[in-house]
Amino acid sequence: MNTFTLSFASRSENESFARVAVSAFAAQLDPTVEEIREIQTVISEAVTNAIIHGYQDRTDGTVTIYGRIQDGSLHVSIIDFGVGMEDVALARTPLYTSKPDLERSGIGFTIMEQLCDAIEVDSAPGRGTRIELCKRIAPVMVS
């Protein structure tokens, strides 16, 4: 089982860094171009949320990503220690956004749900948020 941990400053210029890094790790599963783009998209959504919602655009926060490859699937957790969420169900509602003034479209969670095989959200107000994503690339290997 292969794993990595990546931590970086909560700066928006790290959004592209994060999605390229995770997709470079996932390259070991031999994904299609389309799958690579999907991975980059969901990582971009989760990391952007950590920066603008979790840390409210403060640049002194830390975003951490744990990744692992297991049974042909990419498992990724994106973690921030920011403001957290009161109501995860509301947050996951399609088109809901707490920041319409920032031209947020409110479909970040919808995209993560649609482009991944599983998603778990763990959040507590004042403590932060952990998003766990699982995306199958190769057919599951019986080991």
């Binding site: 389309e34 783009r37 999907e38 952007t48 031209e103 947020r104 479209s105 479909i107 970040g108």
Partner: protein, 118 residues
């Protein structure tokens, strides 16, 4: 780090916007600023978004597009989109963008559409 290039062409009452590169939250401001300044010309009504060179976009890009669409609604403007890659197209579909925007094959078809609208 220049991840996105924006070329904007004015044709009559239409803006042709060609995005080249990656449109995420970090790049959203740049795209918004450029498009807003072009939209400040009061005769501009329609927007044609050519995504042929847009290699990556996430929901922040959707937000920028919807924001500009809202600016042309009072002008009875239309939003036309062409040449998005598979993932970008899928994202636009998920976002319900094709309920308000017209999907066209290319810039030529887009210009035919807005021509008919004159």
């Amino acid at each position: 780090m220049k991840m996105i290039d924006i070329a904007i062409e004015h044709t009559g009452d239409t803006l042709i916007v060609r995005l080249c590169g990656e449109l995420d939250h970090h790049q959203a401001d740049t795209v918004r600023t450029h498009m807003e300044s072009s939209l400040s010309a009061p005769h501009v009504r329609h927007i044609v978004l050519n995504c042929a060179q847009l290699t990556f976009m996430d929901s922040s890009g959707i937000g920028v597009i919807l924001g500009r669409y809202k600016q042309i609604i009072p002008r009875q403007g239309k939003l036309l989109i062409c040449n998005a890659n598979e993932t970008v197209h899928r994202l636009m579909e998920l976002a319900g963008l094709f309920k308000i925007a017209t999907l066209v094959k290319d810039e030529g078809e887009a210009m035919q559409h807005v021509g008919v609208l004159q």
